[in-house]
């Protein structure tokens, strides 16, 4: 698996921060910020849709230790979005720091700043609020054109034209098509028409949302946040608070997981507002309950797939309609929905003659959704891959063979993927590799274990992107130090994935030095070069390429300084790892000498910054196969084996790529079998703790096996594409497929709990008896 061409790239190095993390060193926001900061807490709405008629804080303010309490009357009246996206954001400006109109159970009503948590909690109980409770929009299927408006305000503002209309509860809407969809559909032997439903799953990263703010020694707002997006957070705070960006600094220390949750500035505005008001350090630290009821989960989607095929199993046409529930605010609403079609339909580029993809994104009075690993692709792929499995089963075809015949292959142009090319695509090899490794032929048939349990298998494919084409920007600064070692400065945010390490591996490869000789720093808006942030699977592909470019520039500059030292032209010297040699005389100067020279009477910098963006977003591809054991009496589904083969281009660090895949698969298993999101009839979330929101433990995931099929992406650094998101996409369709094989029932709504499986078998029994 290791790539012999390279010294450092393609090798499984430890993460640079690994030993600090494993020895429990203080590296997270709460560990490194003062304990005497003001405690910031939020009074949250008990109603799904209400107007604050009257709010009295006088008694609460008298609690000893309470510094101040703020309500909607105290905050700036400029609407903003908290989605971490490149300006102008596709997400609507629909928020205020505190709004008189509260739009979901958990929406912020008042900000409490106190010396202690105890005082803040006591004050919270003493705030008296009179609400005018309004009818709420709780069913996303009934949201569009509902007379009840989630955002009736006149100053609702979409910075981008995405087909939204707040007078219709619509955040975005679009129809796109290629070819004669209706004509081909009419000509098909078989048309499948199915609707699939996925829930607002939580990222459930181990460190909930947290942010610390203070005024620095220049009186500027200094923000230490657990965030994937330092630069976007600076811009968001600037607009929300009405202060210039030059007055704000945002940095992130180590982050206790993100998965997209921290691609939204969920909690940052509150302590920032308190610090600006009081001049004092302030910290907000969400409880797990707050992260569950007022976080930034996946968009609930209902995807209708109409799929037309020939009797021989040629998939000729696909027509997708996605209804996406963005909840009370529109963060990432207009963009996540796009991936439900753009990253599912193109899997079948090999045979599709036409496709259509349309969508509506609606407001409801439920928790606002945001970005979560997979970002809409997960929902779309559950639908499309399930529909293809349904087709295969109807035709009596092996579902891996039907995919062999229809899948996208290297060299194709993908009309459903923005017309981008599949430059590097090993999906066909992934399928073959996975089939062999999994022993598909043996395990696909249903086997009755003779004890009420059956074993069987399911399959799914997936794709994702490697950035947002023409939008994402990555930058890197590489500096030479006096002893010939390097500093790498980035604005991308390592949230545990190991991007600091893999980017340093690229520096080590380019500069022909040891990985230990590259120090990494990130991310800080004052010190890092601009980076849109770590999301959209873009860090390896985009920031990685910026690192490569910066190294090329730096080498050139080092050579120029060396040439000057040796009294020759730059073209006459060659960079050789720890020295620069003059080719004709073999005279050489060491890197250390060059670095010292760079600090004396020198005008040539021994550092370089490069920036990169890409017109294309090369998809990684993946095949996942699962074997389950299903108990027909209780409905319990046990994962025995999950095997996957991933084409992420050339893995920069195979161990870290493997962990990404394993972690993503287990999250996907959680969504499929146990993680549920439900509300009571008043819109109050039920699964508000880890007691109710069950994420997989190490007893719930069976045995994993992940391998790679390499492809070489010509536009990526060292042939790399991406790995972070794609890995969450195959479990839902593969497991739903296996459950069908075991029971004869298709489950088209996630999660597929034992209750649902058991009840479906009872219903099936009744049908047979009737």
């Amino acid at each position: 698996m290791e790539n012999r061409e390279y010294k450092t790239v393609g090798k499984s190095f430890r993460k640079k921060d690994a030993m600090q993390l494993l020895t429990g060193k203080p590296v997270y926001v709460d560990d490194i910020t003062p304990r005497n900061a003001l405690v910031v807490m939020l009074l949250r709405s008990p109603h799904a849709n209400a107007i604050v008629q009257e709010i009295r804080t006088d008694a609460a303010k008298k609690v000893p230790g309470v510094v101040d309490i703020y309500t909607w009357q105290d905050v700036p009246q400029t609407r903003f979005a908290i989605a971490g996206q490149t300006y102008p954001e596709p997400s609507p400006y629909d928020r205020l720091i505190l709004d008189r109109h509260v739009r979901f159970v958990g929406d912020a009503v008042a900000i409490i700043a106190a010396e202690t948590e105890k005082a803040a909690r006591k004050a919270m109980k003493l705030i008296k609020v009179k609400y005018e409770v309004l009818e709420a929009v709780l069913d996303f299927r009934a949201a569009k054109d509902n007379p009840v408006l989630v955002h009736p305000e006149a100053d609702w503002f979409p910075p981008c034209e995405v087909g939204g209309d707040n007078r219709r509860n619509l955040v975005a809407s679009e129809v796109s098509a290629h070819g004669d969809v209706d004509g081909v559909m009419a000509d098909c032997d078989i048309v499948i028409d199915r609707t699939y439903h996925t829930k607002a799953f939580h990222q459930a990263m181990m460190e909930p949302f947290i942010c610390y703010t203070e005024l620095d020694r220049y009186g500027r707002l200094h923000v230490v946040s657990s965030t994937q997006i330092v630069f976007h957070t600076r811009r968001i705070l600037s607009r929300a608070l009405g202060i210039p960006k030059s007055r704000i600094r945002v940095e992130k220390p180590r982050i206790g997981g993100g998965f997209g949750a921290k691609q939204t500035a969920v909690c940052d505005v509150y302590p920032a507002f308190v610090t600006m008001k009081t001049g004092r350090p302030a910290k907000i630290s969400y409880t797990r309950e707050e992260a569950q009821i007022s976080g930034s989960p996946r968009h609930e989607m209902e995807v209708r797939v109409r799929l037309g095929a020939s009797r021989e199993g040629k998939i000729r046409v696909m027509d997708l309609y996605t209804l996406s529930n963005t909840g009370a605010y529109g963060e990432h609403g207009p963009t996540t929905v796009g991936l439900s079609g753009h990253k599912s339909i193109p899997l079948y580029t090999g045979s599709l003659e036409a496709h259509r993809f349309s969508y509506d994104v609606v407001y409801t009075n439920l928790q606002a959704a945001g970005a979560y690993r997979g970002y809409g692709a997960t929902q779309g792929i559950f639908a499309v891959e399930s529909a293809v499995n349904e087709l295969a089963e109807m035709l009596g075809m092996d579902p891996t063979v039907i995919r062999d015949r229809n899948m996208v292959k290297e060299g194709m142009v993908m009309p459903a993927y923005y017309g981008e090319p599949a430059n590097a695509c090993a999906l066909d090899r992934c399928m073959e590799h996975c089939r062999q490794m999994f022993r598909w032929e043996e395990r696909y048939p249903v086997r009755d274990m003779g004890n009420g349990k059956v074993r069987c298998a399911g399959v799914a494919m997936a794709m994702q992107g490697s950035c947002i084409s023409n939008i994402d920007v990555g930058s890197a600064t590489v500096k030479l130090s006096e002893d010939g070692t390097y500093n790498l400065l980035i604005g991308a945010a390592d949230m545990g994935t190991g991007c600091d390490t893999i980017l340093a591996q690229m520096v080590a490869e380019c500069m022909d030095c040891r990985l230990a000789d590259v120090a990494v720093f990130g991310a800080d808006t004052d010190a890092s070069p601009y980076d849109s942030g770590s999301y959209a699977s873009s860090t390896t592909y985009i920031t990685g390429k910026a690192v490569e470019k910066a190294c090329t520039q730096l080498k050139d500059q080092i050579c120029a300084i060396a040439a000057q030292m040796m009294g020759c032209e730059k073209e006459e010297v060659v960079f050789e790892s720890t020295r620069v040699r003059r080719m004709d005389t073999d005279q050489a100067v060491s890197l250390a000498d060059i670095a010292y020279k760079a600090q004396v009477g020198n005008t040539q910098p021994a550092e370089a910054t490069a920036t990169h963006s890409s017109p294309i977003s090369p998809p990684p591809y993946m095949v996942g196969m699962v074997e389950i054991e299903l108990d027909k009496l209780t409905g319990l589904v046990t994962i025995l084996d999950y095997m996957a083969v991933v084409d992420c281009g050339i893995p920069i660090n195979p161990a870290l790529a493997r962990i990404q895949a394993e972690g993503g698969i287990v999250q996907g298993i959680g969504h499929t079998l146990m993680e549920n999101v439900t509300y009571d009839r008043n819109g109050r979330p039920i699964e508000s703790s880890f007691m109710q929101y069950k994420i997989p433990t190490r007893l719930d995931m069976g045995h994993l096996r992940v391998e790679f099929e390499h492809s070489n992406e010509p536009t990526g650094p060292f042939g790399a594409k991406s790995i972070g998101e794609i890995v969450i996409n195959t479990p839902a369709p593969a497991i739903a497929h296996a459950i069908y094989r075991a029971t004869g029932v298709w489950h088209r709504e996630l999660p597929i709990t034992p209750e649902k499986v058991a009840m479906s078998l009872v219903e099936k029994q009744h049908e047979i008896q009737a």
């Binding site: 430890r14 993390l21 494993l22 429990g24 203080p26 990222q203 206790g256 797990r288 995931m701």
Partner: protein, 151 residues
């Protein structure tokens, strides 16, 4: 009220409220490895050893530690050093937020059962959630450590 305990081998005197949980007391005493991941005893991030037994410090009152011996990861760096490098080699540390609790419970496991099977490892550590790694890398790390020790 005043409590006296032995924290990481040192006598410590603390003043706590009746409702102070051990987790908050320990962080206040500078044991910042102890993390809070939930409030419902579900995640295992706050695992520490009291009288040698792993407990959840989020659901243990600080006063319950009065007169007892408590170890956090700060006090068991040497014992952890034996095996954590093997976890790092897998890249299974990931975001790291669950690591201290996971490492503490692994120490407890290995004290109790120095030669566990994979199934025993999974069962003992079932209460330590990790959202990043998918768990198998942690298991491989522990297994590699056990194998290296056997050699």
């Amino acid at each position: 009220m005043e409590i006296k305990l032995i924290l990481n081998g040192r006598q410590v005197v603390g003043h706590v409220d009746a409702d102070t949980v051990l987790l908050d007391f320990l962080r206040e005493k500078g044991c910042l490895s102890v993390k809070r991941g939930c409030d419902t005893s579900n995640c295992g991030l706050c695992t520490v050893l009291m009288d040698g037994k792993p407990i959840l410090s989020c659901s243990t009152l600080a006063v319950r530690a009065d007169g007892h011996e408590v170890f956090t990861l700060e006090g068991l760096q040497g014992e952890a050093a034996d095996f954590i490098g093997f976890i790092a080699d897998q890249g299974a540390d990931q975001c790291g937020f669950c690591n201290p609790g996971f490492v503490m419970n692994t120490i407890a496991l290995l004290r109790e059962n120095p030669d566990p099977t994979d199934e025993e490892i999974r069962a003992f550590l079932a209460g330590n959630l990790c959202r990043c790694s998918g768990y198998d890398g942690q298991l491989r790390g522990i297994r590699n450590y056990l194998n290296s020790r056997g050699r």
